[in-house]
């Protein structure tokens, strides 16, 4: 509903004459903390589990690529239990992987590897030893010098999408674009969903609003549109969220548990909630001893060629 208020506000600003100036921000004490981003997935074509550990940065610091890369922790011990065994994750640094894979690895953490000479490391279940299954529970334990961080996540049952069909664009038809529809048959239990899309030639990214629970449609079967994820810098024009005819696209549809959902739900709301009527929402971390998320996904990958 707040979005409606923004529209009303925008109209009001049109009537008046608003202006904006840079201001010197208030300095607040910074409590530096570890930031964890860990993923474990089950489903066809899913990759090994990994954990990225970094440190938070005082808000108004200026940070260059070397300083950025040095935020990533490379002296941690990471272990995950799947209930039957404990797997120690392997530290994998840029210098350990072939140069042709370094760019892809950099993208994973949002860095251009050419712009830094710091060796950036992540922790990975390199031999894919964990038993990644729907319904599994996974405990994460991280030790960094004297500090310990813990988290637990589950991989719920997968609720798959079906009946993918590209339709004409809503309103005035755009010949070169199409809108993707699919069908979900939501089970009669509480479910949480998140999805990502990849346009031709680019990686999987989440759309502006990628996450939802099923309170509004629990137990129903229905068709709904899937928007193409756009980069934050994309223009909100007539083709926003639509797929280009002829492209090969990938959809990553996931089911996740409640704590994992709450992290991304608060994460997206906090990120999008700037403006005249915003307050603040703290991101609901599921990592004890630090900040971030250790999240399990049940994954369905769908590859499609866009055609009407």
């Amino acid at each position: 509903m707040k979005k409606l208020s923004y529209i009303l506000f925008s109209i009001f600003v049109l009537i008046t004459i608003g202006c904006q100036d840079e201001v010197i921000p208030v300095t607040v004490p910074n409590a530096e903390q570890y930031v964890v981003e860990g993923v474990i997935e089950a489903g066809e074509n899913t990759g090994p589990s990994y954990v990225i550990i970094s440190k938070s940065v005082p808000f108004f610091s200026e940070i260059n690529p070397n300083q950025f890369a040095s935020l990533f922790i490379n002296n941690a011990e990471v272990a995950v239990s799947d209930g039957s065994k404990i797997v120690n994750f392997t530290k994998l640094c840029l210098s350990n992987i072939p140069p042709e894979l370094q760019e892809t690895a950099g993208e994973l953490v949002g860095i251009n590897v050419d712009s830094t000479d710091v060796d950036l490391c992540i922790y990975i279940d390199l031999n894919d030893e964990l038993n990644r299954t729907f319904g599994g529970t996974y405990d994460l334990k991280i030790r960094i010098e004297d500090d310990e961080l813990f988290s637990t996540t589950t991989i719920p049952e997968l609720v798959e999408l079906s009946n993918f069909v590209f339709k004409d664009t809503p309103g005035e038809s755009i010949d070169t674009m199409a809108q993707l529809f699919c069908t979900i048959n939501d089970p009669e239990v509480t479910n949480y969903y998140r999805y990502f899309t990849a346009a031709e030639g680019s990686g999987l990214i989440p759309p502006f609003s990628s996450i939802t629970d099923d309170v509004q449609f629990n137990g129903q079967e229905f068709e709904f549109p899937i928007s193409k994820a756009e980069l934050p810098t994309a223009d909100f024009d007539d083709s926003y969220g639509l797929f280009e005819i002829g492209d090969t696209v990938q959809i990553k549809w996931t089911t996740l548990d409640q704590a994992h959902f709450e992290f991304w739900n608060t994460f997206e709301y906090a990120r999008n909630n700037q403006g005249p009527f915003s307050s603040y929402t703290r991101i609901k971390s599921n990592v004890d001893g630090g900040f971030g998320v250790w999240g399990g996904y049940a994954v369905q990958f769908i590859n499609l060629i866009v055609e009407k």
Partner: protein, 782 residues
């Protein structure tokens, strides 16, 4: 219980003092030209100023005195005083009519006692009567005269944000203000996101703000009462009043239905600024997009007999936003607004006992209807009340004015209930409306103990029940229609006392306990139409507040200058806020997102007002602190609220340059609004994400501005003209202060690849000049 026993003993003995051969002087005090009753007009008994009276909310007065001859001065702000000599050898019923205007030098009574006025003399403190005529002389944003914005210029009242009509009183939340229009609760007081209030000044008679020492008559809110009364309509002559402004126009008509027996008033206001741009939107991406708001006020009254009167008043207002994107086949409409209806029956059982029966209906609704292609979405939320109240006003003798009554309200509060259709599939949100009943009884006595000491003692008992149909979230119990789910009740003692130090100075003190059963939590820095009212339930407990206030009041220069200093301390229990990690959604009810805690607020208010002469105005300064504490927010740390404002200053000036030209000016200064700053950022999913610091631990820059106005009345000298017009030229924010409305952050990456987040401040109101034309036609030029 002690205060109650003392109160009853005093009451008993005071009645024993009533002797023989006493007669009652009673009736109504009215405006001579319109027949409008005057509320709070003083009837000063020159022979013994302690034995005077004032008119009640319906203009009725009653004074019982020993047989004899008395001289009364009848006075009302902005009206000529009238001297009456009355022989009381039998009960006398008389209507007193006062004429507008002050005739300097014609005051014939110069008794020292006349120095007293309500500022120092009344038992109430923290009470301000704000005549609409005064408000109309203030500079206004875009020429829109706004009663709620005028209230924000008083000490102890802070505005919600830049240009907003939302307000906070003595550290109370936005839901802790009881805003009444002809006794009906107005749940949403703002148009256009609160930039304008719903009150059309042309149709208002009186506005009273009570920020401390709330009498037992009022209840249901912790912090303040804004009691707004509509005009009744001229019962002698027809008249038309209106104005044309930059964003809206207004028109009011009034007149007798049966002369001096029945009258009507009807008034409308509508904005049109975006109607004017419709031709430019045609054929574009946003064809059909529009926004406007309108108000309709109407009131009729009928005097059945000297003892019976009927009033029927109503308000209907709507904001309508239509958004249309034909190219994407996307559109929605968002109408929201209030309806209030009040039917009142005044009856005089005898010349000492006045009775009022009110039946009140009010309804606030917010709707949203939109869709794209085959998908359609509807959303509804609202509050609906049916309310009946019985109020008695008893004037046994000059020492006492006793009010007592009963009040019953049936509430229906609908949370955000959504429904959607996608082709042939329907989606419905699982939430049902919540029901409740509120019952209250009260008694209060305004008791003049002796020449120096008087007190207003009262007791209110309130009870609230959540009613079925409802299924308990705690134990799954199902409740049927009207079956109580949970009941809360409590006594609310109210006492305020005055001690006169001299004839022109007094000290006053008050202790007020209040319960509140309906709540609104806003997680925004301002109040919005989408904010939801929720009732007390098995999860949400009633809010409770106790306020201690002490004041010193002094009048100077024959009451021309009024001064006061008031200090207060407020303790609040069961305060409501959203949890730190809240994400508003249609999946959860608001009560499941709340956290519960406590609050405190204290401060000092300084006020100097000049109401006579060519130069009038006031200066108000508030030094205050407001904090909240919730166990679930940062472990119960006491943190300042968004509206905690340590320093707040207002200066209001009005100067009558000549009969044709009048100048108005206001200056406001307030410490900047608190907000929760970003503390650090983290890299997740390849992007920068923010982590917030402690709640409300940073402050925006101070807020200050000057507004100016000049009113030109070309034919001001021709008093007998039926048609009068005036031009108003206003400048808002005259020195173009860039007051921060909000801040936002953006990341910037330099050529060297270094990233930095920068903060930006947005200002929405630079210097804004405006012009409006106001007119008035009256059958009777006086």
């Amino acid at each position: 219980m002690k205060p109650i026993i003392t109160f009853c003993i005093c009451l008993f003995f005071s009645f024993q003092l009533i002797g023989q051969n006493k007669y009652t002087y009673s009736g109504y005090i009215k405006d001579a030209s319109s027949g409008e009753t005057l509320v709070g007009a003083n009837l000063i008994n020159i022979n013994d100023t302690d034995k005077g009276a004032s008119s009640n909310a319906y203009g009725f007065y009653s004074l019982t005195l020993d047989e004899g001859e008395y001289t009364f001065v009848v006075s009302y702000l902005g009206y000529q005083e009238q001297v009456l000599v009355v022989t009381l050898d039998q009960d006398v019923s008389a209507t007193i009519e006062l004429s507008e205007g002050v005739l300097l030098g014609e005051v014939t009574i110069s008794a020292e006692e006349q120095q007293k006025d309500s500022n120092v003399e009344s038992t109430q403190l923290g009470v301000v009567d704000l005549p609409v005529s005064k408000v109309k002389k203030l500079p206004a944003l875009m020429g829109e005269v706004d009663i709620l914005k005028a209230l924000q210029l008083l000490p102890g009242v802070a505005s919600a944000s830049e240009g907003s009509s939302g307000f906070y009183v003595r550290g109370g939340g936005p839901d802790q203000n009881l805003v009444l229009l002809d006794e009906a609760v107005v749940y949403n007081t703002g148009h256009m996101l609160g930039f304008f209030s719903v009150f059309n000044a042309d149709v208002l008679k009186n506005t009273k703000l009570i920020k401390g020492g709330m009498p037992a008559y009022y209840g249901g809110r912790l912090s303040s009462v804004v009691d707004v009364q509509m005009k009744e309509g001229n019962d002698k002559y027809y008249g038309v009043e209106g104005g044309v402004g930059l964003i809206s126009s207004r028109l009011t008509m009034e007149g007798p239905i049966v002369k001096e027996k029945s009258s009507f008033i009807i008034s409308g206001r509508r904005t049109y600024i975006l109607d004017l741009v419709q031709p430019f939107l045609k054929g574009g991406n946003f064809e059909g997009t529009n926004y406007y708001f309108y108000d309709l006020n109407t009131k009729v009254n009928y005097r059945i007999s000297d003892k019976d009167r009927l009033y029927l008043s109503g308000y209907f207002g709507r904001d309508v936003l239509k958004f249309n994107q034909p190219k994407r086949d996307f559109s929605f409409t968002l109408p929201y607004g209030n309806i209030t209806t009040t039917l009142r029956w005044n009856h005089l059982f005898n010349d000492k006992l006045f009775f009022n029966l009110s039946a009140i209906y009010n309804d606030y609704q917010l709707e949203f209807e939109g869709g794209q292609s085959e998908f359609n979405f509807n959303l509804f939320s609202g509050v609906r009340d049916y309310n009946v109240r019985f109020d008695f006003d008893y004037f046994p003798n000059p020492k006492h004015n006793i009010k007592y009554g009963l009040n019953y309200t049936y509430h229906t509060l609908t949370p955000n209930t959504a429904s959607a259709t996608n082709g042939e599939v329907n989606f419905n949100s699982p939430f049902e409306p919540k029901y409740g009943q509120e019952i209250a009884g009260y008694i209060q006595d305004d008791f003049k103990v002796n020449k120096r000491f008087s007190l207003n003692a009262g007791l209110r008992y309130s009870l609230f029940s959540q009613l079925g149909p409802y299924t308990s979230k705690l134990d799954g119990t199902e409740y049927g229609n009207y079956e109580p789910v949970v009941t809360y009740d409590g006594f609310e003692p109210r006492i305020s006392a005055k001690y006169s130090i001299t004839q022109s100075s007094s000290v006053k003190g008050a202790v007020t306990l209040t319960n509140q059963y309906l709540h609104l939590a806003s997680n925004s820095s301002s109040t919005l139409p989408t904010d939801l009212w929720v009732p007390s339930t098995e999860i949400v407990k009633p809010q409770q507040g106790i306020q201690y206030a002490l004041g010193f009041f002094k009048n100077l220069k024959n009451n021309a200058i009024e001064t006061s200093v008031e200090i207060y301390y407020k303790d609040l229990k069961n305060q409501i806020d959203y949890s730190d990690d809240v994400v508003p959604s249609l999946s959860q009810e608001d009560e499941d997102l709340f956290v519960f805690g406590k609050g405190r607020s204290y401060g000092a208010e300084f006020f100097v007002s000049k109401s006579a002469g060519r130069l009038t105005g006031w200066l108000g300064y508030t030094l205050s602190k407001t904090e909240r504490s919730f166990d679930e927010i940062e472990g119960g740390r006491w943190y300042p609220t968004v509206f905690d404002r340590r320093n707040d200053l207002s200066v209001v000036v009005n100067y009558k340059i000549s009969p044709k030209w009048e100048f108005g000016g206001t200056f406001v200064y307030g410490d900047g609004r608190n907000f929760t700053p970003y503390e650090s950022f983290a890299f997740i999913e390849g992007g920068i994400n923010t982590i917030f610091g402690p709640r409300n631990s940073a402050q925006l820059a101070p807020y200050h501005r000057i507004d100016l106005s000049l009113t030109f009345t070309p034919k001001a000298n021709r008093e007998k003209k039926k048609y009068k017009g005036s031009w108003n030229f206003s400048v808002y924010n005259a020195y173009n202060r860039k007051n921060p409305f909000f801040t936002f952050y953006e990341s910037e990456i330099s050529d060297s690849g270094a990233a930095q987040l920068k903060a930006f401040q947005v200002t929405i109101f630079p210097i804004i000049p405006s012009i409006s034309y106001n007119f008035r036609w009256s059958q009777n030029p006086k």
